[in-house]
Amino acid sequence: MKAKLKGAETGHSLLKRKSEALTKRFREITRRIDEAKRKMGRVMQIASLSLAEVTYAVGGNIGYQIQESAKSARFRIRAKQDNVSGVLLPAFESYLTEGNNDFAMTGLGKGGQQVQRCRETYARAVEALVELASLQTAFVILDEVIKVVNRRVNAIEHVIIPRTENTIKYINAELDELDREEFYRLKKVANKKQRDTAEQDAEIKKRREAHEASDREKQASEAQETGPADILAAEEDEDVIF
């Protein structure tokens, strides 16, 4: 049970760290999204301006012509992965496929240069857009993952750890009670033993005293019988004749 609590605490601290790392990344991404969105506004403005140039140069609307001649994408994206604390974040990468050009005929009559420039501008704009899109994807995924991780952190912090602690507390209380019972029992036994020994002691003492008393009596009677070996009070000695 203690091991379980320890495991829960370790897991909690690890998850907390993971969530912090993710949040850090998340904040960075949101900041970059904010910047990128503003940048996109500017880039798209420039791009629209260059499209207006094209319209002016070609002298008429080329929209339909372009829409009809679009066949195969030259500008494509591929996804690669980025790993942030075990979370796979996809990132888009744009690339140009070689060899196909749907708009070879566009601007053939006039404004070919403008069309070319416009294409370049828009290609740059789309690159910025792709970058923004990958940021946004990362944002969405990170958002999701952070929610899940935070939920887990909270579950461990507020449910699993208290529950385990309660169990441990209960077990400890039970053990303490058993301990106290045992102690009390021992104390009782000790008391009983003490009482017993005291009784025994008393008995022995009594017996010894009785013994001693009888001894003394015996001695006293003996002394009376023999009498003190007093020199002065000696019995008549034999006369000493010189």
């Binding site: 999204i33 499209l51 679009a70 994408a73 994206i77 996804a79 416009c118 857009l129 923004l132």
Partner: protein, 123 residues
């Protein structure tokens, strides 16, 4: 979690926008028409006559039906017309990106993602 195969073959962008935006993006070379017989375009030109149902259908097609689209670009003023769809769209793939158009300046307050950003940071 989205698996690897989920976005490995997504290699196109899709556009829903006004004529100028679509033209410009097509010039950049993102236009793609799937080979016959279905001939699906990955772009939709929206003007004042296009009704919202058509936009929604296109949005639906680009985001859920087609599996080869990685990014959906949509003009912000068009996104406003199907705002509830954009706001409830929370999948990571394909990414929906609102872009400014020529006649409608970009307003960061309306962007669904930026709004989420702001809400998260309590601004």
């Amino acid at each position: 979690m989205s698996s690897q195969a989920d976005y490995k073959d997504r290699q196109f962008l899709a556009v829903i926008g006004d004529e100028d935006s679509v033209t410009g993006l097509l010039l950049a070379g993102i236009g793609h028409v799937t080979p016959p017989p279905d001939n699906q375009k990955n772009f939709l030109v929206v003007d004042s006559k296009t009704d919202n149902a058509a936009i929604e259908a296109a949005f639906e097609r680009f985001t859920t039906e087609r599996k080869d689209i990685g990014i959906v670009l949509i003009n912000q003023h068009i996104a406003d017309r199907i705002r509830y769809r954009i706001d409830t769209y929370t999948q990571a793939f394909p990414t929906v990106l609102e872009i400014p158009s020529k006649d409608h300046p970009y307003d960061p307050e309306k962007d669904s993602v930026l709004r989420r950003v702001r809400r998260l940071f309590g601004e």
